[in-house]
Structures are given as structure tokens and as C-alpha cells.
Point group: D3
């Protein structure tokens, strides 16, 4: 009985967080280890279903990295990169779309449903959700790599209102009908901004933003946008973290209240972020240096 009561107490301790986030929209960029490690994956999916049932509106945007490369290999197609981004010819784009929309997206949808949610998979084509344009990068033609031009969120609002969980693959079309692969962090930020979400959470494979990326104890719990600029200037934030913090910055400027870069390798990372006072990882908010 004592064990049961202590479990009840944990539920009660969650009450203030449930109240705080009731009715709020949380956009989650789902990727990295949280997607490839089967145990972690099930935990994150459970987290999302729980969020939905206690009154939040989670909106999921997923990436695809490893699976795409694997499928390319399977089809005997070599992957080339330029400036760290995949050169995407028409055939590659076709494979990417099949993997993102026809495999990964459906796995997430099925997983959420299995845990009791009612998920609906969307690509940027569905309901005209994402209009894209070709990403222009000096000195190289990346092919069908795109940027978000517009978000038409009506389909998301429709699904939310009817208690479905939208799961979005980062694929868009331009005005001529060409399909583009878009960075999932950017899609998540653009959607969070359009929905005026309360939170944007990026699941990554690191603990968060650290003053010294080799020393976990230098993790920065809360970072203001102005401080971020300094750290970029000093080269403390660099590499793969750079586009992530820029995505967060855009979301914050567009009205999202808080953004979070958290460690997707941790069990139930989403719940920990939302249901504990200190959260996990790094929270980015607007404002100057304190």
C-alpha cells in the first residue's frame, strides 16, 4: 500500500505542471537517438501521448537522417554531401520522401496509436501545410534542398481541435510543384511560430548547450538570446548546434514563449522537461544579458 501511495503522490506532484500547460501547444522536433534507440523511442512516444491526455496539444516534427542514408545504400545510390548538406537530385528526393513519409512518419504514427493516442501523419503536402523554396547556398547547387516559405496551419488546427496528434514529415512543395527536403529543426520552428506555440522542444543527442562541449558540468540551463549571440561570436556555439539555436531564435522572435534544446538520449526526456521545475537541457528565452 505504501508503494501505491507514493505513486499517487508523484501524480499529485505533476498537478501544477498539468495546470500550467493545460491547453498549450508544444512543438517537438523528434530525431536523433530518441528515434533510433527502440527503448527511448517508446518512452518518448508515451510521453507525447501522456501530454495529449493531460490537456496539451503536442505537434511532432520528425527528421530522418540515418534511415535515408541506409535506404540510399540499399538502392545502390551514393550519397554526396556539400558543406555538410546532402546533395539531393530528383531520384534522391524520391527516396527521401518515401522514407520520411512512407516509413518513418508511419512508424511514429503507429507507435503513438499503440500507446493510445490518435495520431495522423502529415507531410508538407497534406492540406498544403508547407510551401517551400529552393535553398540558395553560394557556390553549390544542393538540388532539392528547400527552406520553409509559408506554413498553412489549418490542417494542424483541425486535427488538434478533434484531439488528433499531428506528426509532420519535413517535406514541402514549391509553387511549381517540386518537392523539397527541408531541415526538420527549421520546420519545427516555423510551425511553432505560426501556431504561436508555448514551447518548441528540440530533441538532440547532446545534453544541451555547454560552455565547454567536453564538460557536461558546464551545461547552461537558461540562455537569453543576447547571450547566445555572444557565444556564437566567441565560437562557443558552432557546428551542428548553430542552426538549432538560430531556429530557436526565430521561433522566439515570432512569439513562441520558450524553446528548449534537450537530450533525447535520456529516458522520458520530454516529461522531464515539462514536469520538473528545473527541466533538462538548455532553455532559450528572449531578452538581453542579465
Amino acid at each position: 500500500m505504501e508503494a501505491l501511495i507514493s505513486r499517487a503522490k508523484v501524480l499529485i506532484e505533476a498537478l501544477p505542471y498539468i495546470k500550467e500547460f493545460w491547453g498549450r501547444t508544444v512543438v517537438v522536433k523528434y530525431g536523433g537517438a530518441a528515434m533510433t534507440n527502440e527503448v527511448i523511442k517508446q518512452e518518448i512516444l508515451q510521453d507525447i501521448v501522456l501530454m495529449k491526455f493531460v490537456g496539451m496539444n503536442p505537434v511532432i516534427v520528425h527528421g530522418g537522417g540515418h534511415e535515408i542514408t541506409r535506404a540510399m545504400e540499399q538502392m545502390g545510390k551514393k550519397t554526396e554531401f556539400a558543406q555538410g548538406r546532402r546533395i539531393t537530385d530528383l531520384e534522391t528526393m524520391g527516396i527521401i520522401e518515401m522514407v520520411l513519409v512512407g516509413k518513418l512518419n508511419q512508424e511514429i504514427v503507429a507507435g503513438l496509436n499503440r500507446h493510445g493516442g490518435r495520431a495522423v501523419g502529415l507531410s508538407g503536402k497534406d492540406g498544403g501545410l508547407l510551401t517551400a523554396r529552393k535553398a540558395v547556398i553560394p557556390g553549390v547547387d544542393l538540388g532539392f534542398v528547400g527552406e520553409v516559405l509559408e506554413v498553412h496551419a489549418e490542417i494542424i488546427n483541425t486535427l488538434d481541435r478533434e484531439k488528433f496528434i499531428p506528426v509532420i514529415a519535413p517535406v514541402g512543395v514549391d509553387h511549381e510543384g517540386h518537392t523539397y527536403n527541408i531541415n526538420a529543426d527549421d520546420v519545427a520552428a516555423a510551425i511553432a511560430l505560426t501556431l504561436r506555440a508555448d514551447k518548441l522542444v528540440l530533441l538532440t543527442n547532446v545534453a544541451g548547450i555547454m560552455r565547454d562541449s567536453q564538460k557536461p558540468e558546464t551545461l547552461i540551463p537558461t540562455l537569453k538570446v543576447q547571450e547566445m549571440e555572444d557565444m556564437i561570436g566567441q565560437g562557443t556555439i558552432q557546428g551542428g548546434m548553430l542552426p538549432k539555436v538560430r531556429a530557436c531564435e526565430r521561433a522566439l522572435n515570432g512569439g513562441v514563449r520558450k524553446t528548449h534544446i534537450i537530450d533525447g538520449r535520456v529516458s522520458h526526456a520530454l516529461l522531464l522537461e515539462i514536469f520538473t521545475d528545473q527541466g533538462i537541457g538548455t532553455e532559450m528565452i528572449k531578452g538581453g544579458k542579465s
Copy 2:
């Protein structure tokens, strides 16, 4: 971090129960130790607010016992009982109503609000909720002791729909406008029946229904209506427990799916009942002997 993760796991273990009860109505008769012990009281109120936030529609009916006697004494009025029930003259009824509606009901409302709920206190007069008639008992005139004649649940539905928690004092009026004190278990059963509630939970000061009331280990986890009849016939169920099982029986016959007689002296008794597989106390369901 481990501690946090294990807390997240407790939340996740609640998910199947949250799903099961999402949108369901649970009528709770709140009384006894759960009302007089301040620690237990706050726990029960937290339980109710949590139930509301995770999607259930709790409806609270409270009793008053000790407080009424205490107020009577304070006013220098002697309490008389006949066949275990309070003889209620007009002045006594006035005191009862003031204590139930003006004191206890408001304390529960304020407590639920303090824990983040939005409660609204009701008597049977509000919105014409309870029509009563005089309880007729052979050989004695109990005065303004009444029975439920009709329930007009529109006010409850209105409040539920707008996310308020209804808290009901067991006072009714008859067609001539006389006010009656009604047994709170009976009111809870009548309301559960009218609302076609999923559950009726009676908080009591005992562990549940026991084969031998002196031996807690003889607690009966699940009891079918037909078995109950046998136990009444054999005198195993008697005294104060008798009207409680009869109230449950009426609710079950009227379409309530399950009724529970649980131990209000246990911490978070309501959550334990709802969020654990075995529940606590005795569950009564329809059906014959197995």
C-alpha cells in the same frame, strides 16, 4: 536524474488509467475521516482536481455529520435521534442547512480552488437540482428528513461542460417549498444514476466490505449484487453499511457501471482507486454469483 526518471515512469504508468477514464463521470460521496482529518482532506481535494485535469468529470456530494452536531451544541440545541437518524425540527433544519451549505460546502469549494480547480458549490435548491419528499418511517416523525424524489441535472451538466467541478450539499426542497436534509450517500447514488456515471465512489471510515468486520484480511475486493443480497440475509452486511450497499445497488440498477466503497482514511484513496489495477476497498458490480 534517476529519481526524476523514475517519477516520469510513474506518470507513464498512469497513462492507461487516464485513457480509460477520459471523459467519464465519477460521482464521489465525500465524508467521514476524509473530511475531518486536515491532511487527508487536502489529499482528497488534490485527487479530485487531478481527476478533472486529466479529463474526468468528478462530481462531489458531501455529508456533514460531526459539524452539524457541533454547531447544534454551540447554539445550545440538543440533538435527538430516532432509529439512528436525527430528529430534525424546523430550527434544526435551518442550522443543518447553514452548516452544510454555508460552511462545509464552501470549505470544499475553496479547497478545490486553492489546488487549482474551479469548483462551484450547489445545494439541491440551486437550479432546482434536487426535489425531495419527506422520509416516511413507521412509528416516528423524523421531521425534515427527506428522500430524493427527482434530480434535475441540467445545472451539473452546464458546469461540467464549462470545466467547473460541482460540489453538492445534500439538501432538497419538496413541492411545497419545505427544506429537507437528505442522506448524502443516497444523493450521490441518485445523481450518479441520473448522470449515468461511470463510477460511484463512497468514501467511508472502513476498509471496505469484509466477511468479518474485525478481520481486515477478509476484505472482499469485488462483490456482485446477488452475493450482496446473501450477505445481507446472513447478517454479514448490517448497520451503517446496509444503506450504503443499498445506495450502490440502486445506482447499479440505474445504469452506473461500477460502485466502490473505499477507505477514506487512506492517503489519496481516490487516486488509488482509479489509478491502480486492483483499486482499493470493495467494488460492487451487477450480476449473480460467480
Copy 3:
């Protein structure tokens, strides 16, 4: 037949007023003789029910005066006053709440229901309606005497929309959970202001505002706020009338269109105010001296 026809004509003469007030909110402070004289009381309750049925949204706020003192005496508790206001210790506050919420409020609710309305009693605790703070008066600690800090009118709007008549007892809670007794005129004004009511009507035991309170023939039918200031400066408005006109002034400044101080000792005073061109008592409106 002639008698019947002349009655029909009276109904028809009411038509322009019914049209004018259709869909409008009228907040009524109910107290004084209209509450203690049983005949007058029934008439006022009838008036309110009629207002509801012909399309208005009456919202009732009641006081308690005499009954509280009587209950205090009954419980052998002495009432002390300072600067005309009751010194309210914790025990006194308990008695006041029981009388206001558990007795008077319920009597009004039952009365309105008996005349065919569907009333719902509320205290400031229900639905978090009234947040209070301690009234600070130089040189004396009045105890649990409070002022309105905030009005959360959602519960009133919910009830109005569903055709219930809200009846409000002037009791509030502060952010620490302490209960306060608040002046009913002030509560009525604060609620009228929050609802942007069309009218605030204060039922009193005088004919209205008079230039010479001894001479009924000096009754002022219409008073502008600026004139009121002059009369206060000259001492013509003083004593118990002073807080009433101040309450009216606040309501007018907050957007209530008209306020009325009328004679609750007159039969059907509310209907007379609303359904006759000249109205009764004194109407206060915004604006300077004419």
C-alpha cells in the same frame, strides 16, 4: 371582459420597455426592507423572475444585515462595531458566511425557483468569482472585512447563457485563502462594471437621494456625477448614502450605463423602475451639471 381588456392594455404598455431591455444585464443589489418584509420580498422575487422571462439578464447580489446580528446573538456572540463597520474576527466571519451563503442566499434561490425562475446561488468562492483583499482603515483593524480585488465573471456568464439567474452572496477569498465579508453594494458595483451591465439598481430603505432627507418631495429623479460631487461637498449626501453613491460612481466610470438608488419598501419597486418612463427613486448617470 372590459377588465380583461384593460389588463391586456397594461401588458401592451410594457412592450416598449421589454424591447428596450431585451438582452440587457441588470445587476440588482437586494437588501433592506425588500428582504425583511415577507410581502415585499415575494414581490421583488416575482419582479426578478419576470425580468428574466421577458429577456433581461438579472444578476442578484444580496446583503445580510439583521440576520447576521440575530445569528450572532443566538450563538451568544457580541457584535462590535468600529466606524460603523462590524469588527469581524474569524469566528464571526464563520457565522456571517453561514448566514449569508447557507441561509439568506438559499432563501432567495428557493423563492425565485418557487416563482418559476431557475436560480443558482453563488458566493465569491464559487468558480473563483470574487477575489478579495483586507480592507485597510486607518486606526482600526476590522479583521475579515474585505474589498473586491478582482471579479472573474465566467461563472455568471455561463449561468446567464443557460437561462439561470445568478444570486450572489458578498463573500470573497484573498490569495492566501482567507474569507472576507464585503459590502454588498460594492460587490454589486464591481460585478456590474465587469459585466458592463446596462443598469445597476440598489434597493434601499429610502425613497432615493433627496435634497433634504426629511422632505420626500425634494427627491432628485436624475443626478449627474458632477452634481453628486457638489452635494457630497455640501454635506447633502452623507452617512450610509455616501458609500452607495460612490459605488454607483465607480460603476458608471467603468461603463455601466445607468445606476439607480430606489426605494425597496415600495411594492414591485424593480418593475416600476424598469417599466415606467419616470422610474422611481434617483437615477445616477455620467456627466457634468446641466
Copy 4:
């Protein structure tokens, strides 16, 4: 003041009737003296607007008699009758339609609006309200005299819901597109039946149904359908009254609760019928001889 109070009392005496008829549909056949006498006409229009404002849904069907004959004469067209009904050739039908729809209907609409209602005139063509068929009478071709074949009440419900008062001219079209003049009593009965109205009221130029039509004191206040049959058999009900009682009978059989044949020459006849216990004229209800 006394006079005012006695007027307030009249309003209060109306309260039980207002409650009883709140939300009910009352179909009124408006014709005869109530239409030709300007004073009576204004009174009846006021009655209808009042009914609307106190929560009823009056639906008006009007006739045309005298005006049609007058317009015919003005156009130098002779009116011929067969078996008491106007022989209606195509040209006559055109004149009838212009007078009913373009003159009388608009006068009633304008009158209701002037008294503060929001009336909308309809013919049986508007919204496809009335489908007609040619009335077949042995031995004579009446031309474009029709019967109600179907009622499509959607337009009435739409207007009611939006607080408009529908005013209907008794003109219908058959499936070939021919326009027919229909008896207004029959139209009123058919609409009352389709709407499952609470009341059908026929305004006539007589006091009601009398045992001896020369002796007003033989007026029958309440008549059951079975008794009516007997009176028809005995010839007591005959002539112009016959189709009226048959229309009432059809309405009663179709689910209308009460039908009334009342004296439209009396001031405020409609209010008298609805707001007095005895009503006026003759009430017809279902059932056999008592």
C-alpha cells in the same frame, strides 16, 4: 404611485402564462375584422410583437377577402363564386397574388415592424414553403383554387431561430409551377401541424362556437373533437364555421395541442386568449365526450 403599482401587478399576473408559453409556437390565422378595423388591427399586431418578446414563436397566416374583391372591382373584373368559393381564372389569380403578397402581407409586416418586431413576409413560394394542388370539387372548375399538398417549414424555422416573425400569405405553387390561392385557415392548420405548434388560433368575426348562433350566451368554451362531430351531424356547426372546425380537427390529429376559434373583433383578443385562464372564444381539444 398606486396606479403604477397596480400596473406592475398586472404584469406579474402574466408571469405564469409567460412561463407556460415560453419557447412555444403559436400559429395565428389573422383575418376578418381584426384585419379591416384599423384600431383592432394595431392591437392585434401589438399582441403578436409582445408574444415574440416574451419568448413565444408566433407564426402569422393571413387571409385577404375584402381587399381582393375591391381590387378586382378597381380593375373592372367581375368576381364570380361557385359553392361559396371564388372562381379564379389566371388573371384573377394574378390580382389575388398581388393583393395578398404585395399589399396585405406587406402591410402586416410593416405594422409588426413599427411596433418593434422584426417581421418577414412569405408567400408559399418563398423557400418552397407551400406545395399546392388544384382543389377538386364535383361539378365545378374553380380554376386556381388550391389545397395544401406539402409544407416545407425550413424557412419558418430559420426565421424563428433568428428572432424574426414569419408572416405568410396563403398562396402556393403546384409541381407544374401554377400558382394557387389556398384557404388561409387550411394553410394555418397545415403549418401548425408541420411545426407541431402548441396552439392554432383562428381569428374570426364571431364570438366562437355557439350552441345557438343567435345567442352569445350559448358560447362553448371547450369542445372536444367527438362533440364537434355530433354538432356537425345535428347541423349546429355549419356554413363558414364548418371548414374552420375541420381545419382545427386536422391540426389536433397532427399533434397540435390546442386550437382556438376566437373573436377577432375584441380588443387584444390574442393576449386575452393566451394570458387569461379562461381564454376567450372556443377551445377545441382532442378526445371524446366527457
Copy 5:
């Protein structure tokens, strides 16, 4: 089969126009040849029904010209004109109203219904749609010739929302209750403006606005308001066309996007205007000379 396929292709070619106008309001002034030529009339009515079914909200305002004169003659009443406008005494106004509301309006309603629409005829009296005032013209009293003072469009919106087609006769009432005949072009413009219609289309008996009214080849497809002013200054636009372009100008200034003066003598003129790129007749839009 080929013939069928080519028909399907025509439908498909309409798709871009259907999309463009889906949900848009188009006010049509219906008059002239389109009203008197039976073949053209049926075509225009079909056009309107089709517009409704493919998602537009057509609102029809009709005139009456010839029919009124004919009816006047039939009643032996001489028509007098002053400055090209009919001098309208009370009796004339009665005739006009009967013809417009009781004959022409009903014919259009019946015609639309026969083609499968659900039309509802309205005069400016219905639902208080049009408030008028007497048109003041120096040197002559035209009698009951009026101008639009206010439009209360609620009845139109109600009907639109419920999929009815409103058909409006240009008759209004002033605040004293006098009925006025109003120019139908002006009524159409005022209603288009109030509804913020997408289009106002005036059906006329000319091809549109021409630089030389004798030479159809000088038809101006698109005219900006500023150019219109020049053409009026030069006398190119004059006579009966003048009030039409002024009506268009007012509509454009009030927020209507486009206005069209088209040739009602052409088969399916409305569809041609809406479903072809070039449209027909003259389109007037805001803006200066290009």
C-alpha cells in the same frame, strides 16, 4: 462519347472560376430585357441557381419598369414623369408595391425554385431591410420616390447562411412608416456595399459603356473610376447610364471589389461574366488613369 468528353472539358475549364468565386457574394441588379424576354429570363435564373450551387452567394435585386406602367394602365391610372422619374402619389405607390412585391418578385422566386434553387422574396420592409427617405429633387415633388438611408442586412445573412437565395424588391419605408419606391440600381449598390460583396453586376439593355454609344466596337472592357469622371465631364457617359456608373462608384468606394455593367440581352450573360477571363460588358474598378 467524344461529345460527352468535350462537355466534361467545359466543366473542367470552369473550375478556376468556381475556385475563385467560392464563398463570394455577388449582388445582381436584375432588370431590362433579361426580365422581359422569357427565354433570356429563364437563362439568367439558371445562371443564378448555378452560381449558388457552385458555392457563390448571389443576392438579387430586381426592378420593374414596364410591368408597373402596364398595371397602371390596366387600372386606368395615368403615369406622369418629371425629369425622367415617375411622379408617385400614394395610389401609384400602392400599385407599384403590388406589382414589384406581389408579382415580379414572386415570379423570380418561383423561377429560381423551379430551376432547383431555394429563393426567398424580400421587400425592403422584410426584416427591416431598407430604411428609405424621400428623394429631394429641386423644383419638383416626386411623391413617394425614395433613397436608401440604411441597410439592415441581417435577414440577407440569415438566408445566405441557410443556403437560400434572397430576391429583393426595391421598396423601402421611412421612419414615419411611408413606403417609397427606390431605384433598383441604387438598392443593389447599397446592399453590395453593406455586404462588402465581391462583385456588383448590373444587367442592362446595352453592351456596356462605349466610347461612342453607336459603335459597339468602342466598348470599354475595363474602366477606372478616375477615367469615368473624365468621360462624364466630356459627356461621353450621360443619360440613363449616368446613375448606373454613380451607383457603381459608390459601391467601389464602399469596399465592393469589382462592379460590372453588362448586357442582359445576351444568353447566360451572368455566367459569361463570371466564368470567362475577359468577361462581358464593362468592368469598373477603383483607381486612377493608367
Copy 6:
């Protein structure tokens, strides 16, 4: 101008069909030549968008045939068939899902959007639309070839209501979470049945059901279920047509009004079926031999 008018006439000729199908649900099984021939494909997509804009609710279910085989080959995977059905191991199922959901479904969605529709792609996993079970065929294990067990149409209704066009890939999950490929005709029939669609249209590569499949002139325009049974008995209906007529039969028995097997190789086959009296292909309806 003449050409334009004749085009307007074609639109008008469509009006009766538009009226007939307004608000009706039409489930279209899209496959075969209509999917592989790019010209035909665009025509069918236009047909569907037009259907949506003129008020129908088209629901699209697509197959995949050729593309799946091609993708299998590309991945160096051999396709094996048993009894005419593809033996589907886990890897094959993965490829099928990617092709159906990630390629073909998205192409249809993008195509509909390009023609102005707002399409949303769904698999049977989205919103829990299709629950499957393993298809059991004596003597062979087909692997992940499934049958429809249940349809949960809420997501379709949600999308319809918000004016989106649902496009469904025939993939389902069983209660253990395994993914199955399901015959698209069967999915279309099951969905039509659940939605109580007005029509089920199967696009095929033949002209319809023929008495002699070599002689197009023996096409049967209308076939009753009972006649179908006879033709199956006689071997006239056999092979690939057999499951199609069985799917139609199930739909008819479940309440679908009409089913159609039409020639998807014909331009605008869908519009021809809906917008011409004779339709194309074979219409199957309930009932016995005539």
C-alpha cells in the same frame, strides 16, 4: 461570343446533376490506367477537385500495382505471387508501404492541390482509420496481405467537414501492430459502407461488365445484384472482375446506394459517370432480376 454561350450552356446542363449530388459522399477507387497515364491522371484529379467544389464529398482510395513491382525490382527484390496475389514478407511490406504512402499517395495529394483542391493523404494507420487482419487463404501463407476488420471513419469525417479531400492508401494495422497491404477495392468498399456513401466508383481498365468480354457492345449499363449472381454462376463474371463485383455487392448490402465499375482509360471518366444521364461503364444496384 457564340462559343462562349455554348460553353455556358454546358455548365447549365450540369446543374441538375450538381443539385442531385450536392452534399453526397462518393468513394472513388483510383487505380489502373487512370493512375499510370499522365494525361488521364490529371483529368481524373481535375474531376475530383471539381466534384469537391460543386458540393460533393469525394473520398479517394488508391492502389499501387505497377509502382510496387518497379520499386521491388529497383531494390533487387524478386516478387512472388501465389493464386494471383503477391507473397508479402516483412521487407516487401516495408517497400509497399513506402511506395503507397510515401510516393503514390503524396503524388495524388500534390496533384489535387495543384488543381486547387486541399487534399490530405492518409494511410490506414492515420487516426486509426483501418484495422486489418491477416487474410487467410487455404494452402498458402501470403504473409502481410490483410483484410479490413474495422473502419474508424472519424478522421475522414473531420477532414470532409473542413473541406479537405481525404486520399487513402490501402495499408492497415492489426491489433498486434503488424502492417498489412489490403486490396484497394475492398478498402474502398469498406469505407463507402461505413460512410454510407451515395456512390462507390471503381476505376478499372475495362469498359465495364460485359456479357462477352471480347465484345464492347455487350456492355451492361445496369446490373442488379441477383443478375450478377447468375453471371458469376455462368462464369460470365470471372477473374479480376470477380473481387470487384463482390466488393460492390458488400457495399450495396451495407447501405451504399449505387456502385459503378467504369473505364478509367476514358478522359474525365468520373465526370462522365456523374454528370450524364446514362453514365458510363456498369452501374450495380440492389434488387432481383427485373
